[in-house]
Structure formats: C-alpha cells, structure tokens
Assembly symmetry: C2
Amino acid sequence: MLTLYYMPGTCALASHIALEDSGASYQAARIDFRKEEQKSIKYLAINPKSRVPALATPRGILTETPAILAFLAQSFPEAHLAPLDDPFAFAEVQAFNAYLCASVHVAHAHRMRGYRWADEETSFADMQRKVPKSVGEGFELIETKMFKGPWVMGADYTIADPYLFTLANWLEADGVDIKRFPRVAEHFARMGERPNVRRVLEEESAP
Amino acid sequence: MLTLYYMPGTCALASHIALEDSGASYQAARIDFRKEEQKSIKYLAINPKSRVPALATPRGILTETPAILAFLAQSFPEAHLAPLDDPFAFAEVQAFNAYLCASVHVAHAHRMRGYRWADEETSFADMQRKVPKSVGEGFELIETKMFKGPWVMGADYTIADPYLFTLANWLEADGVDIKRFPRVAEHFARMGERPNVRRVLEEESAP
C-alpha cells in the first residue's frame, strides 16, 4: 500500500492523478497547510522538507514530483505511463518534468512564497508583479517548442500529462490567460474530462 | 557520438563529469556566456531555453541536468551510475537530484539571476543577502537528512555524486562555509581527487 501526502492546490495533484493512472493500491492523506500540519513534528518525520508531495512506500518515503512520477511509471509498467525501455524517450519525459519542476513551478512560487528567497515586502511585491511574465514565458516555450500533441510527449499519455495539467491549473491565479496557449488549453480541457482526474479533483475539493 | 554544450562554472559540470564516468564517446562544446553565445540563433536552435547543459545525441537534444544524468546512467549501464533495476532506489537518486535542481540550485540562482523573478535593484540586493541562508539551509538538510555516505546514496557512487559536487563547488561564492557540513566537505574533497573530475575541471578551466 502506498500513501500520498498531499495538500489541495499544490503540485501533489500530479502525483495523485498518476497514482490513479497507475492502478496502484493507495490512500491519500491530506496535510492541512492552513493548520500548518506540514510543520508538525509528525509530518517532519515523514518529510523533513516540510513540503508535499511525499509518497510513503513499503521501502521508505519518496519526495519530489519528478522522482515520484518516474517511480510510479517504473513500478507499474502495465499502466504504460512512460517509455520505460527507451532511455532517450524516457529522458525527454524527464526533461519536460524537470522544466516544470525547476523553472515553471519556481516562477509560480514567487507569487506566494517569496520569503524563501528574500525578506522585504517590497521584494515580494516586485516578485508578484513579475509572475505573469515569468510563468507566461514558461508556458510560451511549452506551447511552441516542447508540447508535441495530442499528449505532451506525442501519441502516448505519460507522467508528463498530469504534471502539465497541475501547473496549467494555476495559470488563472498567476494572472496568465491560458487562451494564449491553444494547445496547452486544449490539453487542459481534455485532461479535466478524464475520469481519473475528475475523481482526484473531487477528493481534493472535499471539505 | 554525444556533444555536451557547457559553460564553465555552471551546473553543466555535473553532466560533464557523468559523461567521463559513463565511458561514453563524447565531445564538449563551450558556449561562452561572456560573449552571450547562449543567446545566439545557432545555440537557440539547439536549446531554446538559452541555457546549459544541453546534450546532443543521435536521437535529438536533451536538456535539464537530472534528465541528462539519468539518461547517461540508463544508456551506459556497464558504468553502474544508478540502481537501474530498482525503481525505489532509482527514485531516491532522482529525488536527491530534483532537490539539488529545483531547491538548492534555485536558491543559488538568486545571487546572480534575480532578474528572472523580479525587476528592481532593491529586490536583487535583498535576494543576494538571503542566498547564504537559503543555500545553507539546503546543504544543512543534505548533511543531516539526505547524505548517506560515503557516497550520496551510500555504498555506491551514482549520478547524484557529481551533481552534489557541482553545487558544493559554489558554496564559497555563495557565502556559505562548507566546513559547516563535514560530510559534504569530505565528499567534496574526495570527489575533487577523482581522475575523471580532475580531467573535466582541467578542460573547463582552459582558456
């Protein structure tokens, strides 16, 4: 049994959807950031980074979305969530996910989490003003150079798809109009209709 | 034949060392950031992100350090650079690398590249002041919670080792005393003595 620690509205959504996609037996445990549960001694013993997602497995805890996604793809090969037998194609999936993780998510994080990298209110306001531009540029690159279609990596659905969906889900709040990116927008709408995605969103939106 | 596009002093060093470790036939092509070659039309055709590293392969271009490192490990299994047949152990390597990529490298980048996330000189100065703290906290977590020893992942050298070495190499300039982290410091010194590392550092430091 796997346990996913998540908070609604965070990048843990990608791992949550991938768990559904994988067919794994799992449970989802909400860590309520409003109650600062991510800073509790109990949760810090699970993930000393004080973040989500974390995936508890029989072997131990895994963190970091790209690592969890690749782990699910490799652990449940019958779900065909990545080109496991082709190191180049697998690396393309991983490169896409690393870009989401280290560039697009990081740009987004400057809207709400500027305190990670600065101390002054004026800096936070400056960072917040730049988010539409920096996040927008990330999605522009995805739209024009990286997205293959109909899925992120082309003909086959992979672990890159729920991850892109997760970050696209933040665009409105980030002040970026998804309509600027027609291929991403179509993908976002199509992802939102998948039963696994609807099931996860329903669970995450429950009180 | 593989071609690594790199600039000295960047995170491309990790891929450069891993290429040596892999036994691959490769060449290294310097992209001179001082001449803004990363913004040239020629280089943007290779990597539209305008960054290094990029790895040209017979199948196409790969970017993003964690993806390149995993690609090298999977493509040259005889070099034993990652636990390829164990999804959990492989995910632990990937989680470590993702943390370096998306947290530690990102913290470091606020010293020189604040313009990615803000516009005001006062914000840049604020960000620069915080780098010793944010980078220091990243290494504190590595030292106390993540580093297994003698190598990052324990008994076996993996693709996590050249990546940690690369970021540890920035600590002095980031205003962080590596002596605060005895295990990281010992690893850094030991890595620096490896012939592959010395060979790469020599090539990257040539005029």
